[in-house]
Amino acid sequence: MKQLIAILALLLMTLGIYAQREIKGTVVDDNGEPLIGATVKANDSNGTVTDLDGNFKITVDDKVKTLKVSYIGYKAGVIKLNATRSQYKLAMQLETTTIKDVVVIGYGAVKKGDVTSAISKIDGEEIEDRPVNNVADLLQGQLAGVEISNNSGTPGGKTTINVRGSVTLNDYVASGDDTDNTAPLYVVDGVPMDDDFDLSSFDAHDIASIEVLKDASSSAIYGSRGANGVIIITTKQPDKSGKFSITASANFSLQQVNKHIDMMSGSDYARWANAMANQRYVNTYGAQGGEADDGMLIRSTLTGKSNFNTINAGTAQDYLRDIRWTIPGHPGLTYIDWQDEAYRIAPQQQYSIAASGSNKQSNFRVSFGYTKQDGIIRGSGYERFSGSAQGQTKIDRFTFGVSIAPSLSVYNAVGTNSATDPINLNILTAVPVAEADAGVLTSSYPYNYYAFASDSSTNPVVRLENTKQERQLFRMLSNAYLKIDIWDGLKAEITGTWNMRLQSTRNFSPSTTKNLYRFNADGGEGMGTKGSWTDKKGHTFSLQALLNYNNTFGKHNVNGMLGWSISNTRWSDSSQTSAEDFVNDAVEGYTLNSADITKLDVAYTTPSRMVSYFGRGIYNYDNRYVVNFSLRRDGSSRFGENTRWATFPSFSLGWRISNEDFWPEDFIVNSLKFRMSYGKNGRSNIRPNAIKSSLTTATVYFDGVSQNGYKLSALGNVDLTWQKTDSWDFALDVGILKNRISFAIDYYIKHTGNMLYQMYLPAISGYETAYFNIGKIRSSGLDIEMKTINITKPFKWTSTLNIGFQTNRVLDLGGNDRIMSGTSAYGSGKTQILEVGERVGDYYLYDYMGVFTSQADLDSYPHVATAQVGGIKVRDANGDGKIDENDRIRCGNPRPDVTIGMSHRFSWKNWELYFLITSQFGGKIFAGQVGTKGFFNHPQGSYAGSRNMFAEYGENMWLSEENPGDGQTPAAWLTNSGYNYGGTTRNLYSSDYIKLKNITLSYKFRLPKKGLVKGLSVMLGIENALQWDRYDAGYSPESSAIQNSSMSAYDLVAYPTARIYSLGVKFSM
C-alpha cells in the first residue's frame, strides 16, 4: 500500500511541464572563499553541485522560485529567483551556533524554545579556561538546583554532584558497596555510563556542552537510572566547515594552601604540657603529698613508675614533665610547625591540543591533553594524560563514525583519601616539639619520638615523603555508530559501546615511617615494611538502537523516537597481593622470597545486565503548544524474576504564551513560557547480587592444619524491586526587554519511595542486614536561573545568577519511627537521625553546655556516672534529671537550604574580566576531627599531651577549680571527662560560606582575518580567591570525609582546597 502511494506521488511530480531557463551562480563562505561541492537544488529531481571555483549552472523551469543550497557545516541557504536575473551569488553562514541553539535531551535534541522540562545547560567554553582539573568542580555555582561539593582538595579527587537534593535511605547505612547512591547518571555523547563513572577523567577542553536533566520528565527516558538526575556531556565534534583547524592551550599555575589552622606552637605546647602534667600529678598524687614542683625523683617514688624517660613508659608521662620546659629558651628542644613543613607552594601545568578537519564526506577530530598537578601537601600529586579521536564518514544515506577516548590518571596521595587516618589529622596533631638533634625527623628512623609527648604517632612529613600510595586509573570510552537517513525525517541509529577501566593501586610503607616500636623489633630494617598491589578491571558493553522521526507539516511539528538498549557491566574484578617485612626499605617490588606474602586474593563480580525499551513523542503546534510524552520499560538483572521489570512514564506540557496572537508585540515581557512536567524514575542501586544469598570462605586450623570452608555471609531478598521516584515540576521561562533579562523559575516536588535500604535483621537469621524496599521521602525546592545583559556598548557587562532552595521530609521509614544514622563520633554513637516527619539526616547530638567547672557545679547538675570536674557538661534536654541517649537534640542538617552561584562578565575592547561567586547557607558541618582519638581535646587520659591541639584550647582549658579556663573547654587530661564527648554540639559548625571562586582576566588579540593564526588570547586567573566562612575547626565548610552527596558534611580535616594563581594562553588556527 505504502509503495503504491509513493509511486503515485512520483507520477504526480512529473506531470506538469513548464518553460525552462538557465541560472548561474557562485556560492562562497562567510570569508568570501568559494565553496566547492555545495549542493544546489531546485527540487528533489533537479540539482547540481558547485565546481572548483564555487560556481554552478542549473536549468530550471519558470515555476521554480527558489534554489536551496546546502553544505555540511553551514546553514541551509536559499537563493530567491528573480524572473529577470540569471546570475546570483550566495554567501553561506557557518552553522557555528548550532550547539547553542539546541538543548540535548535524552536520545535526541530539541530547540531551546521547545524545551518543556527542567534542563540546565552550560557551554564548554565558559569553563575551559579555568585551572581546575575536575570538570565537576568547574560546574559549581553554574547550575541552579545542582549542588556541587568540593569535599576535598586532594589532587584528582572526586567531587560530589547532587541534583535537586537527591536523597535516598541507603546512604544512611554503611554498606560498603554502594557509597554514593545519589550520584546522577552520566551520559556521554548519547551513551549512558555505569555507576562508577565520574567526570575527573575528562579534559574540559574536549567538552562542548553539559546539560543537566533535573526533572523526571526529561530524565524518565533514562528510566531506572535517571532518578538522581542526568548529566549529559556532549564532547566537541569535528569542525564541519571543510577546513583544517588546530586549537591549543597552555596553562601554568601555582597553588597555595589558603588557610593556616591555629595550632599550639612549640613553646605554647611546652608551657601547656608542663601545666597539665603538674596538674594531673597533683590531682592524682596530691593526697599522698605530691606537689607541682616536685622533681623527677619524688614523682618517680610516688607514682611507682621508674621508667619515666624511656619509650613505652605507658602512662608514666602523664605525670611527668620535661625539665627543659621550665628552663628559659627550652634548650635542646626544637619547635616544629608541621603545617609549614607539610604544605608547600605547588605548581600545576595543563596543556591541550586539538585538531579537526573535514571534507564533504568525512570529518575527524583528535585531541590530546596533559595535566600535571603537584599537591599543596608534600608528596601528593595528580597527573593525567587524556586523548580522544573521533571520525565519521557519510556515504549516501549512511553515516558511520567511531570515537575513542582513553585517559590515564595517576594519583599520588599519601593518606589523603583515608577516612580513618587522614594525613591532615596527622599534620595538625603531630607534637610541635622535638629533640633538637632529631628535628623534623623526630619519630622516624633513626630518631625516637619525643619521649615526653608519650606519643608514637607517625611523623607526617616522613610519612608523606617515604610512603608510596599511587593509583593509576586507565579509562577508555569507545563507541562506533551507524546512522541512516531512511526517509524524509526518519532516521535510524545503532551505537555499540565498550567502556573499560583498569586500575592499579600500589602502596608501600618503609620502616622509616614507623614509630619506634618497629626499630626495637628483632627484624631491623625492612621489619614492618608493608606493601600492597591491587589491580581492578571492569568492562561495560552496550548496544543501543534508535529510530527518530522529525517532520513539520505546516504548523504541526512532530518528533518521535523509539529505542532499545542492552548492556552488560562487569565492573570490578580484582586481584590483590600484600606483603610485609621486605628485605630492606629500598626493595619495594615483590621478591616473594624476601617478603612475607600476607594476602593473595582474586575477586570476581557478578555481572549487572539491563534491557530497556523506550519511546517518546513530541508534538509542537505553531511554536505555541508543546506536548511531550515518554515511556520506558527496564529490566534489570539485579532483581528477581518477578520483580525485575518496571515501567517509567512521563509527560510534559509547554505553552509559549508570548507566541499567542494576543501577546502585544512590543510588550516589555517579550517572551513567556509556562511549562509543567510529571515523570517517574527508578533506581536499582544495590549490589548486583543482592537478591541472592551467598557464602564466604572461612578457614580453620585443626591442630595446626589449615582447612578451608564456607560460612554464611549475605542474605538475599528475591522480592526486591525498583526504588521509584515520582516528580512534578512547574516552571516559567521569562524574557524581558528583548531578552536583556531572562530567567527561569522551577518549582519541584518529588516523592521517592520503595527505597532500597539495608535494614538490620534479627541476629537469629545469622545475618546482620538485608535489603528491603521501604520508606518514603518527599523533597521539594525552587530553582531560579537568571541571565542579564546589563550594559552592551562599548563596555559590555553580563551577569548570571542561580539560586537553588531545597528541603525534604521523611514520610515513612518502613514501620520504624526513627533510625540513627551517619558516622559515629568518637566516644559516642551515630551523629545523625532519620525520623518520620523530619528532614533526612538531621544532626542529633548532645547539647554542649561547657564544662563542670567545680565539684559544686558537678553535684548540682545531672551528669553521667563517669563525669568528672573539668569534663563535659551536656544539657539535660528532656529534663528527667539524668543524662542519657534521650537527651540528644536535633540540631541542624548537613545539607544547605540554599546554594547560590553568581557570575559577572565585563568586556571592553580586547579585554574581558570574569568573576564567579558561590555560596551556601543553612547547613551544618560536623567536625569529626575534634574529639577524634588523640586530637585537640580528646578527653581520654592516655592521649593527653600526646598530640597537638588548637592553640585556643591550650589557652582556655580547665585545669583546676582555681584555674577553670573559659568554662567552655574541657580538660584534655582527665581519664574520663564524661559521656559522649565526641557527639556534642560543640563540634557542630555552620557550613555557610561565600566564596569568590574565580577571577579571570583575559586579553584577546585582534588578528588579521586572512592570517594563519585565527585566535590568540592570554588569561590571568585566581581560583578560590577569597572565602568567608564560619568553620574554624578545619579547612573548608565543604569538606567531607564521606564521599556521599546526601550525607556529606562529616569532616575529618579533609585535604584543603588550594588557592590557584594561573597564567594561560590559548591559540587557534
Partner: protein, 537 residues
Amino acid sequence: MKYTINIILFFSLLFTSCSDYLDAEMTDHVNPQNFYQTDAQIDQAIVGLYNTMMVIPKNRWFLSEVRSDNVWMQQETVSGASEICYFLNANLVSNGQVETAWKEYYKIAANANAIMEHIYTAHFTSEDMRDEYVGEVRFIRALAYFDLVRFFGNIPFSMTTFTAESSFDAKQSSAKEVYEQLIIPDLQCAAEQLRETFVRYNNKTSGTVGRPTQMAAKALLAEVYVTMCGYPLMDSSKKELAMSLLKEVIDYSKANNDKWWAKDIDEWNKMWMHENDNKYYLFEIQADIDANTSQGSTITPYTVDRSWNSRQYGGNNTMTNGNSYGYPYVEPGLRQYFMQKDASGNFVDQRAFGTITLTQPNGGSLSGNVCYYQKFWENKLKRETFGYSDMSASLLSKTSTWPQNFPVIRLENIILYYAELLGRSEDGISYLNKTRTRAGLTANRLSDFTTDEDYQEAVLNERRYELAEEGHRWFDLVRLNKWQTTLKNMFVTDGPTTTNPLLVGYADNVLPFTYLYPIPQQQLQVQDGLYHQNDGY
C-alpha cells in the same frame, strides 16, 4: 521503499525479549542454593561453622570472666569491658561486647541450621559419616545456645533457617524451653552419634583432631544438667542425670590411661603452651599461629596490656589491645592468693605462674595492682620458664599471634562438678583433692569442713583457682546464686585500693536481675515489639 522496510525489519529483530539474559549468574560468591550438595561440601560448611566458633573465647572473657570477680578493671573507660565489669546496667543495653556476643552466637547457630537443613538430602558416600556429622553440628549448635541462654535467659531459638522476612517471626522462649527443646535433644543426639574419636571419612586424614567426640558431648550434656540444677531453673531432677554422665566421663578417662590428665604440676603448666594443643581438653576452640591469616586465639589480645604485649611480641600495635578495654587486671584478692609463698619461697599454689603474671614479662617488677592473666598468653618469659624456645619474631609481629587453643571442656571441670554434686563426703573430697594436690596444696580432709556450705565454698574456690580465665566463674556464681554477695563484696573490698572512690559505689549496681544481660538494644530496635527486654533493664 523496500530498503526502508528492510531497515525497519532489522531493527525490530533487535527488539526481541531477553529474559534469560537478565538471569545473571552470581560469579563472585558461592551461592547456598547450589552448595551443601555433597559430603565434601557439607564438610566445608562444617569448617565454616568452626570458623564462626572462634569468637567463643573472646565472648567468654568479656561476658563471663570480666563480669565475674576474676577480673578487676583498673581503669574506667566508657566503652566495652568496664561497663560489664562495673555493672553499669543502663549502658549495658547498648554495650558493644554484649551486642556482638549475641550476634556471634546466633551466627554459629544459623550456620549450623543451614547445614542441618541440607545434611539429610546431600549426597554422602557413607551413612556413618552423615550420622557423625549430624552429631557434630548439633553439638556445636547446642554449645552456642547453651552460652546464649546462660547470658541472656529469654531468647528466640530456631532449628531452621530464615528468609529476610521470616526472621522477624521468631519470638522469645523461656530458658527452660530452650534447654528442653533444643540443647538437650541436640546433645543427646551428639552423644549417640559421635564416636570415641572423630573419624573423618572424606578420604582425608587431616582435620580430625579438634572435633567433638562422644565423651565431649556427654561432658557438655552433664554441664547443661549441672547448670539446670542451679539458679534460676533449680531443676533438681537433672542432678542424677548429671552425676551419671560426669561419672562416665571420669571413668572413661581412668580406663584410658588417665586420658586428658596432666600428671604433675609441671605438665599442668606446660598444658598452656600451643605445643600441647589437643592433648588435654575434651573439646577446645582451635587457634593457630599463621603469618597470613587471623586465626589466633580471640581471648588473648583483650587480656593483656598493650605496651606489654608489644614489647614481647615484636611490636604489633594494630591489634585490639588491653589498654582500650581498661586494664583488665587479675582481681586483687585472687592475685594475693596466687602470690602466697611458703617459708622456702615457693608458691603455695604452683599453678600461679601458669595462670597470672608474677613479674613483668621482661623481668621487671610489678607495682600496685598490676597483674594480668597469662594462661593464654605465651610470652617469652613464660615460655622460657617452662623450657620452651622463643617463637619466631616475624610470626609474632603479625596481627594475630596467639596460637593457643581455648578449652571449652576440660577434665578438671568435670571432676570438680562431680566433687560438687557428691557433696561433703569422703568421695567428694577425694575428687576435690585431685586438682589441689597436683597444684602442691595440702589435701583436704573431711574434718576440715564443719558444714556443707564450707565444703561447697571450698569446691567453688578450687574451681576458681583451677579454671581461672576459662570463662566458668560467672556461670558458677550465678548457678550457685552467689553472684550478688560475691560481686558486691568485690567492689567494697577492692574499691579502696584504687584512687577512684566511685568504684566502691558500684556494689549498688549488683542487683537481683543482673544475673542476665539485657537483650541488646540494637536487636530490640530491629522491629518494635519483636522482643521484650529482660526484667530490670
